[in-house]
């Protein structure tokens, strides 16, 4: 029996295990939306296409599954670009289905036509234009395979209106057969041996763990590796949660706003073991000053990440989980008292920790750090936290001690303001029973504030904590430090009354203006089974410290 393109698409999605998609309808995809009425797939109607991609991305990050979104052609498609670029920079598996004008009209500047393949080519892992309904099932199969394997990433499938309407026999391929795509999962044994020998010899080893540990589900292996050999662990923003943040071996985040101990450990280590990290400029600071005395082992599934910014001594291309498993197996043979071998190094790190711990002083105005710390304490770390971008993001990374993977959703690479709220929606859809909190700034929350309607429509109890300083805080901080306090366009002189705004959308609004109101506000918000905006009126000109100025080596931190 023949099926329409729309039916083939939805049935293919089902066979890929998709039960939820995020989207927004339009003319070119009207056929798919019609077929959706007869499909068991749940569709979450967002209020802006950018939010559809971020929600699919939040769904993917929190659950480990491939996120899916569906939008129309032209403006629907172009609105997804920021979301796609966000997912691409952070290696998040998302399949973006875009409508397209009919094949006969492509290239004609037709109504709501955009060359979305061309526009997104630099920010997708791969993309397809389906020109024949007979190719549709195979394309969907490949799209999911490419998005979710190797170094994950967004894949775009452009679907012309006539292809969706055409019919074909539906045969979903059992397997993917691609001669040109074959990611390396298994680490090279010889390289692993070499790395292992270096690890045994090192006096001051340090693990530098990135988002790759989380995407390969290698937290358990990494934790075992670090604990067995007593090797301290610093994580990138993307890696937070891959190793328990409360463990004695955890140094917190490294880099521009990393902890003093983490940056000092990087500067002084004699062996750096990078796992699923890519030596981003916000992590390394001045390249020459990054781990200057260390041999470097780099485990990564993407060969292009290796020796891109920094020359490494032992590259190991492979899946973090596979490689760490093999290293852990080799370690079992070595019965040494690693804790005492490491004593000197760990004592040194403890000294750094005690010299300059992360700190702030809570006086009579609410400190944003205090809010984050209290959210951590009250949720006991058992929540999914998303952030926007800027100071809110950095304070969250510093003061919320992530202990489990997939509990922090944040736009690390692209740094997308407006990411956190829709990502929280995606996570809440994936985990209806979990506490999901978006820690936001008063600037970034307004970039996708329209999604309050989405949480209202689906009764999603997403919580938003606004650290409200009436500034675009991070840019103001830079203007303060490097531009003589010339606050050009960073004071947000007018914002809505967030309490009334919440109420207008059928959510609850709570405001805290004094330190003693912080805890009751969080507790009350968490007791409400609806969406809540918490508006914390915080110290206006609080800065994020430590800070490594752009172009400086990691050891040169501004500390207060």
């Amino acid at each position: 029996m023949k099926k329409t393109g729309a039916q083939i698409l939805l049935e293919s999605l089902q066979l890929e295990g998709v039960d939820t998609i995020f989207g927004f309808p339009g003319g070119a995809v009207i056929g798919i939306y019609d077929a959706l009425l007869n499909s068991p797939i749940r569709h979450i109607l967002v209020r802006h296409e950018q939010a559809a991609v971020h929600a699919a991305d939040g769904y993917a990050r929190s659950s480990g599954k491939v996120g899916v979104c569906l939008v129309t052609s032209g403006p629907g498609a172009t609105n997804t670009v920021t979301g796609i670029a966000t997912a691409y920079m952070d290696s998040i598996p998302v399949v973006v289905l875009t409508g397209q004008v009919s094949t006969g009209l492509i290239g004609n500047d037709a109504f709501q036509e955009a060359d979305i393949m061309g526009i997104t080519r630099p920010c997708t892992k791969h993309s397809y234009l389906v020109k024949d309904v007979k190719e549709l099932a195979r394309t969907i199969k490949e799209a999911f395979y490419i998005a979710g394997t190797g170094r994950p990433g967004p894949v775009l499938v452009d679907l012309p209106k006539d292809v969706i309407a055409d019919s074909a026999e539906f045969n979903y391929p059992e397997s993917v057969n691609m001669q040109s795509y074959n990611p390396t999962y298994r680490g090279h044994r010889g390289q692993i041996q070499k790395a292992f020998k270096l690890i045994l010899k090192a006096n001051r080893p340090l693990i530098y763990a990135g988002g790759g540990v989380i995407s390969s589900d290698a937290s358990e292996e990494l934790t075992a590796f670090a604990r067995t050999l007593s090797i301290p662990v610093t994580a990138t923003l993307m890696g937070l949660g891959c190793f328990p943040g409360v463990d004695d071996l955890s140094l917190g985040m490294l880099g521009m706003h990393g902890t003093y101990r983490a940056n000092m450990a990087v500067t002084n280590c004699d062996l750096l073991i990078a796992v699923g990290a890519r030596f981003d400029d916000r992590v390394t600071g001045k390249i020459d000053g990054f781990a200057p005395n260390a041999k470097i082992i780099h485990i990564d599934i993407d060969p292009t990440s290796i020796s891109k910014n920094i020359r490494v001594h032992i590259p190991i291309v492979g899946d973090a989980k596979d490689v760490l498993k093999k290293i852990n197996k080799l370690i079992q043979e070595e019965k040494e008292d690693w804790t005492s071998i490491r004593r000197e190094w760990l004592d040194q790190i403890l000294k750094w920790k005690n010299t300059y711990p992360l700190a702030y002083e809570q006086k009579d105005v609410i400190k944003p750090q205090y809010v984050v710390e209290k959210i951590y304490e009250i949720t006991k770390g058992d929540a999914i936290i998303s952030t926007e971008v800027g100071q809110n993001q950095m304070w969250t990374a510093q003061y919320y001690h992530f202990t489990k993977p997939r509990t922090l959703l944040t736009s690390g690479g692209l740094g997308t303001m407006g990411y956190g709220f829709p990502a929280a929606i995606g996570a809440q859809i994936a985990f209806p029973e979990k506490t999901v909190i978006d820690i936001a700034g008063d600037g970034s929350i307004q970039m996708n504030i329209q999604e309050l309607a989405t949480v209202a429509q689906y009764n999603l109890p997403v919580k938003i904590a606004i650290l409200n300083n009436r500034y675009l805080g991070m840019v103001r901080q830079w203007q303060g430090l490097f531009h003589n306090k010339r606050y050009s366009q960073t004071p947000l002189e007018v914002s809505p009354d967030f309490i009334k705004l919440a109420e207008a959308y059928g959510a609850v609004g709570l405001r805290a203006t004094k330190p003693e109101e912080v805890v009751p506000t969080i507790e009350k918000a968490l007791s409400i089974s609806k969406a809540v905006i918490m508006d914390f009126v915080v110290e206006r000109e609080e800065d994020v410290y430590p800070m490594v100025p752009v172009g400086a080596p990691l050891k040169e931190m501004l500390l207060v």
Partner: protein, 168 residues
């Protein structure tokens, strides 16, 4: 491990799926990362579903390593070979339209003959010459013909193949 920090010219061959958009992906890879393409040749192989690209580019070791890795990363690319440091043959073809007045016609024919070229078009005032060879040979014939008055040249860009019995 000493690495080459000087910019060197590399000839890279890539087998790619013969599909629309592949060339755009390769071109975008180069432009998006600030890499330079000196020449680029693409045509079908014996298998019509596969094309072969020959790319001539310039860079230090680190840049070339990124270029080959990034090419390999593209989903449509099957195989990438950098011929640098290996035994290979490369050729380019050039068509030269040169002014040929009665005084110079015989000389141009002699030069063409020496370079094992062919005259592919003749008018009372010009010859069009086809020559293929490596870069030095192409440069030499251009130098020799310049004094006669070159009206137009068109070059194919370089193609390359490894020496020996094995294919890539």
């Amino acid at each position: 491990m000493e690495r080459e920090i000087l910019d060197m010219r590399h000839t890279i061959s890539a087998l790619v799926l013969n599909q629309p958009g592949v060339l755009a992906r390769v071109a975008g890879l180069f432009s998006g990362r600030g890499f330079n393409i000196e020449s680029l040749c693409v045509a079908e192989t014996l298998d019509p579903s596969v094309s072969r690209m020959t790319i001539v580019t310039r860079g230090n070791d680190q840049v070339i390593e990124q270029i080959t890795k990034q090419l390999n990363k593209l989903v449509d690319i099957i195989k990438v070979v950098d011929f640098f440091g290996s035994e290979y043959v490369d050729r380019e073809m050039i068509l030269i339209k040169v002014t040929a007045e009665s005084s110079s016609r015989a000389e141009i024919l002699r030069i063409t003959d020496i370079f094992r070229g062919k005259i592919v078009d003749v008018t009372p005032k010009s010859y069009t010459i086809e020559v293929s060879g490596d870069e030095n040979k192409i440069r030499a014939i251009i130098d020799l013909l310049k004094p006669m008055g070159i009206k137009e040249v068109v070059r194919t860009g370089r193609v390359a193949i490894s020496r020996g019995s094995k294919g890539i």
